[in-house]
């Protein structure tokens, strides 16, 4: 605002504009403003990811390696003891990170692909397609998802593929609802109409005109959905229809060693063993939620005025 020309020129209307920052600079600024809870969340998630990637290096034994001593106590040889058939608990915790998180991530991505894609299409189309999809989703949502998943898994068998597909489809109903709701608001903007008038196809309008403008709620939802998928997988594994042995996973580990809790009066560490995978799940869920909370606060514009 330093220059104030007497006569009118269009280019001078808005003078000095902040210089465009690169993506990296913007990310740096963003990180600097992160509150401690978000930092905690990011550090925990990073650690989990590192453990999952380097599982082979970190784990002292093989994933399904069986040792002679079942239910061995905590010792130097078996840091967290062994389980009911003599597998090292620490090893299986480490591999569990890879399996459970990998499957949860794949499932969440898939559910966003299905739910998000259909939600956008329904929001743009608004005709019979919207009606058909929305009603179908209503029906799916009316059935308790855990019971429905149990039923489907017992029909199709508990392979990893069917596990991913079934949970993804069931979860995509929520994603569909959210995407449709936020996309409908954007779909009525003039720039979407302008794109239609230009003759753009559905795919361009979805990807380039609407999607970038509804990203914040979707990203936040992604974090939350990831936690729920994670919990669903753990719950299904606990019930015995989730990830099947010998693949290590945290839900079934809780189930296999659950009976150890009653030995608390003899050996405290034995009782803690089944709680370790549960704690791993809880910690990750809390960490992801911290990050999501921070992200939501950043994008919702409901920041406290300084």
């Amino acid at each position: 605002m330093s220059e104030q020309p007497e006569t009118y020129t269009a280019a001078a209307e808005v003078g000095a504009v902040r210089k465009r920052r690169t993506r990296l600079e913007r990310a740096g600024l963003l990180l600097k403003s992160a509150p401690p809870s978000a930092w905690f969340g990011m550090i925990v998630v990073t650690l989990y990811i590192l453990v999952a990637i380097f599982a082979d290096v970190l784990a002292p034994y093989g994933e399904a390696e069986i040792h002679p001593a079942a239910f061995a106590p905590w010792s130097d040889e078996f840091f967290f003891g062994t389980d009911q058939i003599g597998r090292d608990v620490l090893t299986r915790l480490i591999y569990g990170a890879r399996n459970t998180m990998g499957i949860a991530l794949a499932t969440t991505f898939l559910s966003f692909l299905i739910g998000g894609g259909l939600g956008l299409a329904a929001a743009i189309n608004r005709s019979w397609l919207d009606q058909a999809l929305s009603r179908f989703v209503d029906v799916l949502m009316a059935i308790p998802s855990l019971i429905f998943a149990l039923m489907l898994l017992s029909i199709f068998g508990s392979t990893i593929t069917s596990l991913i597909l079934i949970i993804a489809v069931l979860d995509s109903t929520r994603v569909f609802r959210l995407t449709r709701a936020v996309a409908v608001n954007v779909a009525v903007m003039d720039y979407v109409e302008a794109a239609k008038l230009r003759g753009e196809g559905l795919s361009w309008i979805m990807r380039r005109e609407i999607l970038p403008n509804i990203m914040p709620p979707l990203v936040a939802e992604f974090g939350l959905r990831f936690c729920f998928v994670f919990l669903t997988i753990a719950a299904l594994s606990f019930l015995g229809v989730g990830i099947q042995p010998p693949t290590a996973d945290w839900g079934s580990m809780v189930r296999a060693n659950a009976s150890l809790i009653q030995f608390a009066k003899y050996d405290m560490t034995a009782a803690i063993t089944p709680l370790l995978p549960a704690a791993a799940i809880a910690l990750l869920t809390v960490a992801v939620n911290f990050i999501v909370d921070w992200f939501l606060q950043k994008t919702s514009g409901l920041r406290d005025d300084k």
Binding site: Q4, E6, A10, A11, E13, D190, E193, R198, G199, P212
Partner: protein
């Protein structure tokens, strides 16, 4: 209210050296840079300037109020012996709503939709104990009557959504008037209204302020409106006073070059040229949104290289006509002819070439551009889509287009949020231009802009028309804009075409009844215009 200021009256409000800073981009910027203002009892002062000039901020400061994100950094605000700049919030609250009242631009957004109008009108009088509730209610009915609201006895029992925008604005004036304040601040109260409604609201506000000898600050960017209302006018720019003078003197002999340029805006006029070669025509078109029929037997033709202006108040079917032409709303009956061939009624049946030749520019440039796309993408997409330009060729063409609209290559990387209102509209023009169209449909493209920016956009459109022989369909409710840009005029009312013809024919008598009403409602730069008009209408 066109008396010369009377120096004998007692000074009600005196603001000295007001400085206000606003917080944006992580630092404080001055918004108001030392403005003085003096208002005596019973005077009406007009405060004009472009958006961003600080007129609303100054108006609110007269109440001792600053918006969140703004702070008063200097100066004194003496209101009847009280320094509002130093007064506590508690003291100020006692004055607000009783001795100082504020009428906001959007009445619809300022009323609580859950309460009846009369309850909201008397709230401040009753709750502050100015008079008993029953008296306040009786008084409110009198105010409704004085403001010429229909059914003054019963209109108060309605809810805000049950009255029209113009009526709501008058109820809001009654609400401000109810505690008999010493000062009322009107912040663009008629900007959102149609011209025909605006006249009624202006007359009502002027009468009531005159009747109770209330002092008022009238904030607007419309010079013709302020000329009707104010005793004297203060012009603001960049948070500084440009000029201040009694209304008549200001209108006839403005001194500063900036004020003169403001005044000259409305003088822009294009000589009309008759066009023969019809590029697009719609013939006996009926159209409806669901069961609601909005267009009745509408026929309009656009001669090549000319501008056809469609005028009418909101709800008259102007924009719907545009939607029919673009194919967004296929008509029920009737045909659309383009370059002598029938054009498919629905958008999806039109060829890419047909789509390319009809482009559209929207009223709100804000919502017409994707906020996540840079200027280069916005202008570049039609180039890529229709003309297959990519990479370097595309970028060069975008810069060329930017130069055509008087901007330059430094804008390539900007997002719409980094542009001013006028620049945004220019980018939209460039986007339409990029497709090399035959026709551009302009839907109220200048109505959201300041006068000077409007003039710039209109001149640009005229120049582009000359250079590329483009045909415009120009939808507007502003007669000054019509005079400036059109060759032919179509007057619409309630979904029907009232008149169509050359500008000179339409704008000269004899007028059909509706055209007469529309034309006479457009404020003129004459302080006596409203008085004369009201006298003529009641006669």
């Amino acid at each position: 209210m066109t008396n010369e200021p009377d120096a004998s009256n007692e000074i009600l409000l005196e603001m000295r050296g007001i400085r206000i800073d606003g917080y944006s981009d992580e630092q404080w910027h001055p918004i108001i840079k030392g403005v003085d203002l003096t208002l005596r009892r019973g005077e009406i002062m007009g405060l004009i300037g472009e958006s961003g000039a600080g007129k609303s901020t100054l108006g609110k400061a007269a109440m001792g109020y600053t918006q969140p994100g703004c702070k008063l950094t200097g100066g004194s605000i003496m209101f009847d012996g009280i320094d509002l700049a130093k007064a506590s919030d508690r003291e100020k609250r006692k004055l607000w709503g009783t001795r100082i009242a504020y009428v906001a631009q959007s009445a619809a957004a300022s009323f609580n939709p859950a309460h009846r109008l009369i309850d909201q009108t008397v709230e401040s009088s009753t709750r502050r104990g100015i008079r008993p509730d029953a008296e306040s209610r009786a008084d409110a009915v009198e105010l409704f009557r004085a403001l010429q609201l229909p059914d003054p006895e019963t209109i108060g029992s309605r809810y805000p959504h049950q009255v029209s925008g113009g009526q709501l604005q008058r109820v809001m004036t009654a609400m401000a008037m109810s505690p008999r304040p010493d000062l009322i601040i009107f912040d663009e109260p008629t900007t959102a209204l149609d011209v025909t409604t605006q006249v009624e609201v202006l007359a009502a506000m002027r009468n009531i302020v005159e009747e109770f000898n209330t002092a008022a600050i009238y904030i607007t960017h419309d010079l013709a409106v302020v000329a009707q209302m104010a005793d004297f006018i203060q012009v603001l720019r960049y948070g500084e006073e440009v000029e201040q003078a009694p209304t008549r003197q200001m209108l006839t002999k403005p001194e500063m070059p900036y004020t003169k340029s403001l005044w000259s805006v409305r003088a822009l006029e294009k000589p009309e040229v008759k066009g023969e070669d019809i590029v697009l025509s719609i013939d006996h078109v009926d159209a409806a949104y669901g069961p609601l029929k909005v267009l009745h037997d509408v026929s309009i033709s656009l001669p090549r290289g000319r501008t056809v202006a469609v005028v009418g108040e909101s709800g008259s079917g102007k924009s719907t006509t545009a939607r029919v032409m673009t194919g967004l709303l296929p008509p029920l009956t009737g045909t659309i002819m383009f370059n002598g061939e029938p054009l498919p009624p629905a958008l999806k049946d039109r060829s890419k070439d047909q789509l390319q030749r009809i482009q559209m520019i929207y009223q709100m440039a804000d919502t017409a551009m994707n906020p996540r796309q840079t200027v280069e993408t916005i202008i570049g997409r039609p180039l890529e889509f229709y003309l297959g330009l990519t990479g370097k060729a595309r970028e060069e063409r975008v810069i060329e287009l930017l130069k055509m609209i008087e901007l330059d290559g430094s804008f390539l990387d900007r997002l719409p949020s980094e542009l001013s209102g006028g620049q945004k509209q220019r980018i939209c023009i460039a986007r339409a231009l990029a497709a090399k169209p035959d026709i551009i449909i302009c839907d109220e493209v200048t109505s959201a802009l300041d006068q000077i920016v409007q003039e710039g956009i209109l001149k640009l459109l005229l120049r582009l028309q000359k250079e590329f022989n483009i045909t415009y369909l120009f939808i507007t409710h502003d007669i000054a804009t019509v005079k400036a840009i059109s060759d032919e005029i179509v007057v619409m009312f309630e979904g029907k075409v009232v008149e169509q013809g050359l500008k000179s024919e339409i704008l000269s008598p004899p007028f059909p009844e509706y055209t007469q009403l529309l034309l006479s409602s457009v404020p003129e730069m004459d302080p006596d215009w409203l008085t004369n008009l009201l006298a003529a209408r009641s006669a």
